[in-house]
Symmetry: D3
Subunit: 234 residues, 6 copies
């Protein structure tokens, strides 16, 4: 299966679904990681242009840990607009180039506007990528993929409909997350939180709910022409 | 009563509410059919400009079967934006020209972005059409109409609050739908589905739920200054 | 149409749906009012056996105001059990004797246990009354009726799916309610509230929501073999 | 995996989940079918004691079609009580004897009281079966199984969180259902419906929603100590 | 505590939360009132430019009654866009200048598009105001504030999670509202409603629900990094 | 304020709300702890009659840590019935003897039947305790108290509407929990879980959601005649 995971910022996938992505890759699926924004506002001291380079490298290294390609869409933190035509085209090209059977992204009720915008962009363009026109860089998408929303950072207002036991890949997930050294620092400064501790706690909590040591939770978006009977592959 | 039904594409009303519209018309109400987009991307082979003409004719013929005028707003498939000021003005003019007591459109959780955008445009502009300014083509709307959402193509994640028994007009509905010959073909190619079969199945399913042979389902949008105590007229 | 309204106590129908019942009766429908309990605990001073007689008379007079029969099931306040077989049989006999097309009762999330129990009893027995056996006092019910939940006293956690404009019958509703003189007193003592004032306020509030002066709200219970496409008749 | 499916009446499983059960059995799982009631009120003419024998045979034959044992709990139609201690013990014994990893039953909002009671009994006793005491007929259950709710007859107010593609076993499902000849007749008389037609329509509808020809839908009950991360096995 | 209340139009706060704001101010908190739009379309006869001046004065006088500053963001009625970058910057500057611990605004499901847009703008910019960049007029916000949604005008589809007893400040609320003389007139003309009567009715209704004479209701938005354990301070 | 917390088993309050109870007590409120069942099935080896004595002592010691009285209702594990009249009377007597302003108990969707039954018993009897009759052991309750549901053990399907920062009392909570030595052992054996670890994880998770180190979450039950505007006192 072709699986495409799309987060707003370079470390969002590591936080919310890397254990599952690692497991999918191990099971033999093609997994592509994508972040929409460069993460340019992810630090108070390091200037944006330096930070963009640093964070691209961090994301790249995280992806390499599980042998998956990492794509950056090059947008700007805090400025992702779900109504911008050129941004929509960027997403359409992404989807057409990957031709995913399944897409994972942020839930529509996530905590900050970039996450919300990416969620809507993915919903919209996984459909419009199947229509002729909009761009001619890639052949149109052959189908509308299955769509899954990943947990938010704190698990608030998010009741999974699917739990994935990630006990075996949780250490890998943490290693991937630790690659985002610049962001771990920033989140401590900006939100006074220990992001690794958060991820550890949410992983355990979802594990308790799911009957295993560590778990990640997802909600399937149920809408027509999404192949909703496709099994979550791990 | 003045009833205005607004779908995103030329065949959306036929799919989701034509049985009810036929019944309303038979009961003596004024019913106006409107589609926002020309349906220009509704075919892989026929070029857009030819297709626009073909589909306009198809919609027109469908409307004639029940003696109702059909309005096209001339937008483009996959590009309907609920944030575009000129599109909003187009909707405001439509509403002011029809002065509806009741409006039927797509639900906010429908399956593709044009449907979602039309749903928001109708919610927004049925209110703003009553405010002075925005356009001077028509007198301002005398009231905010009642607002109803029609079913989606597959009935997914849509629990009607109102069922309409359309057993007597179901054959008319199918005849209207068959007028959209270009689209029936396209949906087979694009989504590998038999759209007539879908409509037959959903009609039966809603009928089973409602205690009759064929039914269509609707959800009333409950918000202030909508005349929520107006009875659904059929 | 045969309409049966069932409240837990002698004044519950007056509080929550009398304006609608009056309108239904005026429109030519057969309307039967029923209260499950005698209201025996509805006073601190008057002894239960006296109170039962008083309240039966009050309910009778309220029903007479709109020309509808009033049935008491003779249960005890605070002791209505939805699991008691003989109580179930009492409800089955009621339904079979009335043969309703439509039943109105308390919502499952109403504020006190008798209301909740009556709601479940009505849901259960409107179905089981159609099965052979349980009792031979009346012929079995010919069909499962449509089922509607009426508002609670304060409108809390109750979003109507149907509003009925009761502007024309609201004065009648208040007159019916005033017949329950013993209860109006008790509710002042027990809950420190002016029940007539409550009903006036809720009537206005639902009116504002519905776009008229006074309204009552209902939620239709959507379940199979209920004739969900039957129109609410007023 | 040990899978236990529990319906209220002899044909409920065939209606709502037989396609999935057949698929599970084919995939090598142990599948046990159970109905709580004898179906004794399932006919207007045939007396209860004769009917009990007939229906037991019908259920047996249906189970044989997919090679699964069929258990009847011997309760009475319309009289299943979730509060009856001896009924609870019957369910506890059932669960302990099967030791299921996964249980499928009716949803709590199903359309008639026996279905609702069975749903609660299963929720309660899948937990209490793991506690010492209550009965000593079987060793206590080793774990609380995963719990899934099956669709209702009409699909009303039921949005699946899991769809199973049953295209390959749908014909088997219909063959199983046809074994319940007495019930097919009764449902026509009692509810004026063609039960085979209903099942065909709901199967298609869920198929349209799921992106396949025929599907069945389920909702997983998310509660603690249920192994929520166990994959639905087909 | 620093509290910032943001309504779309000059009188929205008075309608939905002034009793609470008055109580907060009395309790010693800093309270800032803000309206996004000038209210320029709030009258059929008075021209926009005159009306803007009148309404600014009315809002100012209302704020003075409780000793709170009033800020107008200078937008236009019916034209507030949550996607406009310059509007976002205006909101970011507002939030940075006030540095609120808590923000109150419209709910996302309010009845007209300006309210909905303001709700989204507040959700988005209370987060992005904490990020470096976007504007350099004020220092960045030190934290993401707690976020509360206020009731809508009719209480429709709004179940408060928090009730505030405003019995003691309800008269003040009405006095504040009466300052908006131009709007009271307009709402009578435009919507045929007595806005003071509406507010009186909703205040009583929420009071009945909350167990006091007058109340206002709120829903806390639960999302991460909002300090959700901060007590509503009155 | 008089606060009454009611759990099904001797350690349920410690697990779900002891941090809040400790804080309430420190703030000067009267806090009474009650468990419905003796916990007699809480061990595989220790016989029931010995266990009852042990667990009563453990609960007593936990209560003493925060200086609160502990009441046991003497029911049996796995056998609590919300329909049993004598059990209802036991609850009515409890409520009348404590005369609480506020009650905390399990949510209706908790994970096992005793919790669900206690939740319903508390909802029912906090109302019926105010009615004359049922028992004459205590004077009737003067009012219906505010009602709050506490979190379940895993936080599954429970979105708090109120968070309490229990950072300062979390160590006390753990000390109280450690008093239930027999139960900690049993939960390890029965459910293969480290109950102290669970509580630590859930406390952190709710803390992350609430913006503090440790938190507990609650949902207020919104129903009439509950004084819903009473502030949660900590």
């Amino acid at each position: 299966m072709n699986i495409l995971a799309i987060g707003a910022h370079p470390d969002d996938l590591e936080i919310s679904c890397a254990g599952t992505l690692a497991k999918m890759k191990q099971a033999g699926h093609e997994v592509v990681l994508c972040h929409a924004s460069t993460g340019d506002k992810g630090h108070y001291v390091i200037p944006a242009d330096e930070l963009i380079v640093i964070r691209k490298g961090e994301a790249q290294q995280a992806g390499e840990l599980i042998g998956c390609p990492v794509i950056s869409l090059g947008l700007r933190d805090g400025e992702i607009s779900s109504e911008d035509e050129s941004v929509k085209t960027t997403f359409i090209d992404l989807i057409r180039s990957v031709q995913p059977d399944m897409v994972i992204t942020h839930a529509p009720n996530d905590y900050m506007p970039d996450h919300v915008a990416v969620s809507k962009l993915v919903f919209d363009t996984t459909f419009t990528a199947t229509l002729p026109a909009f761009s001619d860089r890639f052949p149109i998408a052959k189908k509308v993929p299955a769509l899954y929303y990943m947990d938010n950072l704190s698990g608030i207002d998010f009741q999974p409909t699917i739990y994935v036991d990630v006990t075996d890949t949780f250490e890998t997930k943490l290693r991937m997350l630790r690659k985002h050294q610049s962001q771990l620092t920033w989140l401590k400064e900006h939100d006074h939180v220990d992001i690794l501790g958060f991820v550890e706690t949410l992983g355990k909590m979802r594990g308790i709910q799911a009957g295993c040591t560590y778990a990640e939770g997802f909600i399937q978006h149920m809408a027509w022409t999404r192949p909703n009977a496709i099994r979550f592959p791990v």
